[in-house]
């Protein structure tokens, strides 16, 4: 355990903001979803790292990371279902084309 905690956190930080960048710039909904996964993943790492380094005797972080993974899985499944459904309707999955229900 020679690696200081801060290293892990910086790693997740980079991962998270890569996700942010992707989420903001990409128009393809699947790409946005991928970015989202990156962010979630970064958060999971943080859970695990904080648990490991700060509260080594307990397992809250881990448990919540597991929950987060489960929820991410669920969310992805739904999101992809929706995306595919949208794709069926408008043959496209770019977010800026989705303005039928706007205004």
């Amino acid at each position: 355990m020679e690696i200081p905690m801060i290293y892990y956190i910086v790693l997740s930080l980079v991962m998270f903001f890569a996700g942010v960048y992707g989420f903001i710039t990409r128009k393809n909904m699947l790409m946005m979803l991928i970015s989202l996964e990156l962010m979630l993943n970064a958060v999971d790492i943080n859970f695990a790292v904080f648990n490991r380094f700060l509260f080594p005797g307990q397992m809250e972080g881990m448990v919540f990371a597991i929950f987060a993974i489960a929820i991410a899985a669920a969310e992805t499944a739904i999101a992809i279902a929706i995306i595919i459904n949208i794709f069926r309707h408008i043959r496209d999955i770019e977010v800026d084309k989705l303005d039928d229900m706007k205004y």
Binding site: V20, F23, M32
Partner: protein, 637 residues
């Protein structure tokens, strides 16, 4: 005398019956029902008159007035309440007789005249409505009841003028009649409001019993230099002037001739148009406390009399001639009231004369109109140019028409002579200037009436190749004969015994100087008319050409109608209503819309923030969070 209430209720019942059943009744049945109702009504009125005038006189020699029926209809305040009731005094009883008689004659006459018209039942319903309203008007116990029935006669008149509702001229005329009189009624209403505000009563009996009350109550209150009392009474007179077609509110009456002729006879000659006269007579003691208003009344009457007489001389439509003659004759009555005073019987001669003339005029003017109706019925035209030489074809009409013309021209022994003579005497007593003025008008009257008479019955020998005029049926001639008889004898009724300014009997004696003058003037005028119109010739046309400007002006009624048209269309409609409507739609509504538009504009501007693009949201969210985080960090440092 409680039965008098049926004089009102009977025509009302007839109106409801005929009006509601309308076409479910056979025309004939409706006509007969209406006529029967009116007959009973007339009988009741005669009986009332008999009972009333045979009452014992009281100590001052006055026939006591009776209020057989009074019902509080609507209470406003402690003192002010509208009652519906019946107030019998000499003039109201006299009016009852006049109205029921003429109305009955018109009912009978219409059976023939209106025969086969579409809406016959409706016509009789309206006639009943009118009779009811007019009777209610004259027996009013208080000024507000009078106003109520005043409005009702206005409406009946409107409905009857517009009886031929598919004819544009009739529609326009009915509208005009209603609106002009309504305008006058506004004055009446305001007058009532002012009067009642100060005297705290609507009741005629109270008002006339203490006529000076209004002066004491309004002491010091002035408006534009005149006392409020004068204003109130002048405004009330304005109402009367509107109904009685006084200059300059007379414009509706000639047009009202668009209605069926019997209606003209009933409403626009005999009864409704004298309502104004009756109103002034009713409030006469009150008017006497404001002499300036009486002077106003005299002036208005005199101007109207002359104006109408001049215009009547050049009209070519026989009903128009009669209409202007009506205006002129009513103006006589108005002038007579204006020159009277209630101090004693002699000073108050004008009052009696006015009522007397009202009575006689109602009979012979109704006769003239009904006669004109018979002629129109025969010739199918109102224009004099279509007529001439009718004396051979319509003997009864001819004779009765002649009697009426003689009466209106003031030739003894016909009724008009007596009443007109009293008026001239009264005016002469008051002021020589107006006396001469009115004598001239009387001369003009004789001229235009005989112009009419000769033009219709003499003038040329009609060839009548395509259509032979024929005498009217019995239902139409009978009323003519009856009215002609009345015209012949009415002058000998001791009218002054029954009606006078303070109720005491007044013995009529002719002032022979005035009488002779007027007879001479009348005979001259008749001769002039005979010279011009007895045989077909070119003299009238030549005369008209010689005085082209005057003639045209008179023919166009001195452009009063045009002035009114200008005021209503150009000023009121184009100048007030249209701008107001525009203002409403564009300024007021525009302001409201502006609020909406500004709101919408602002939302459209800030709508960009709610683009719906999740990426912008995230960006903004993130930057916001970061900002807050940065601030927190800086603060913590």
């Amino acid at each position: 005398m409680e039965y008098t209430v049926f004089i009102l209720l009977l025509p009302l019942a007839m109106f409801l019956l005929l009006g509601l059943l309308d076409s479910k009744l056979k025309p004939r049945v409706a006509g007969i029902l209406g006529t029967l109702g009116m007959t009973v009504c007339a009988a009741l009125a005669y009986f009332t008159a008999y009972q009333f005038f045979t009452q014992p006189r009281n100590a001052e020699g006055v026939i006591p007035s009776v209020t057989p029926y009074n019902y509080e209809w609507l209470r406003f305040t402690e003192n002010l309440h509208i009652d519906l009731g019946i107030y019998l005094d000499p003039i109201s009883v006299m009016m009852l007789v006049v109205i029921t008689t003429v109305s009955l004659m018109v009912h009978i006459y219409s059976l023939g005249y209106m025969h086969g018209e579409k809406g016959f039942q409706r016509y009789y319903a309206f006639l009943s409505l009118f009779s009811m309203s007019m009777l209610g008007l004259v027996v009013a116990t208080n000024i507000f009841q009078m106003y109520i029935f005043w409005e009702l006669v206005g409406v009946s008149s409107y409905l009857l003028i517009g009886f031929y509702y598919t004819k544009p001229a009739a529609i326009a005329a009915s509208k005009k009649a209603f609106i002009v009189t309504r305008f006058a009624d506004l004055g009446f209403l305001i007058g009532i409001l002012i009067l009642s505000f100060f005297t705290k009563t609507f009741d005629f009996a109270t008002l006339t019993a203490t006529p000076t009350a209004i002066i004491t109550e309004t002491a010091g209150a002035t408006f534009l230099g005149c006392s409020v009392a004068s204003w109130a009474l002048a405004l009330i007179f304005m109402g009367g002037a509107g109904k009685s077609a006084m200059f300059p509110l007379h414009i509706w009456l000639p047009d009202a001739m668009e209605g069926p002729t019997p209606v003209s006879a009933l409403i626009h000659a005999a009864t409704m148009v004298v309502a104004g006269v009756y109103l002034v007579a009713r409030l006469f003691p009150v008017y006497c406390v404001t002499p300036e208003v009486l002077e106003l009344i005299t002036t208005v009457g005199a101007i109207t009399a002359l104006y109408a007489a001049i215009v009547a001389c050049v009209q070519t439509d026989i009903k128009r001639v009669l209409a202007f003659s009506t205006i002129s004759q009513i103006a006589f009555m108005i002038v007579a009231l204006g020159v009277a005073n209630d101090t004693d019987l002699h000073e108050g001669l004008g009052y009696m004369a006015s009522m007397f003339h009202l009575f006689t005029h109602a009979m012979f003017k109704a006769l003239l109109f009904l006669g004109a109706g018979a002629i129109i019925h025969a010739v199918h035209s109102n224009e004099m140019s279509e007529m001439g030489g009718l004396r051979k074809y319509m003997p009864i009409t001819h004779i009765t028409f002649l009697i009426a013309c003689l009466a209106i021209a003031g030739i003894p022994p016909f009724s008009g002579f007596f009443s007109k003579d009293e008026i001239l005497t009264a005016v002469m007593n008051k002021s020589t200037f107006w006396g001469i003025w009115m004598t001239v008008v009387a001369g003009l009257t004789a001229f235009y009436m005989f112009r009419l008479y000769f033009r219709i019955f003499w003038w040329k020998n009609t060839d009548c190749s395509h259509h032979t005029p024929h005498e009217a049926p019995l239902t139409m001639t009978l009323p003519l004969i009856f009215l002609a008889l009345v015209t012949c004898v009415a002058g000998f009724i001791p009218f002054g015994e029954l009606v006078s300014v303070n109720g005491q009997p007044y013995h009529i004696h002719l002032d022979w100087s005035v009488a002779t003058t007027s007879i001479i003037v009348a005979v001259c005028a008749i001769s002039l008319a005979a010279w011009l119109y007895l045989k077909e010739n070119k003299k009238p046309t030549a005369m008209a050409d010689a005085t082209r400007t005057l003639h045209t002006a008179a023919y166009r009624r001195f452009y009063i109608d045009e002035i009114y048209l200008f005021i209503t269309h150009k000023i009121i409609f184009k100048g007030i209503c249209a701008p107001i409507a525009w203002f409403d739609r564009h300024i007021i509504d525009g302001t409201m819309d502006m609020f909406a538009n500004v709101t919408q504009w602002v939302s459209a501007r800030i709508k960009g923030l709610q683009s719906g693009y999740i990426q912008s949201y995230v960006w903004i969210l993130l930057m916001g969070t970061l900002l807050i985080a940065a601030i927190t960090i800086i603060c913590l440092l």
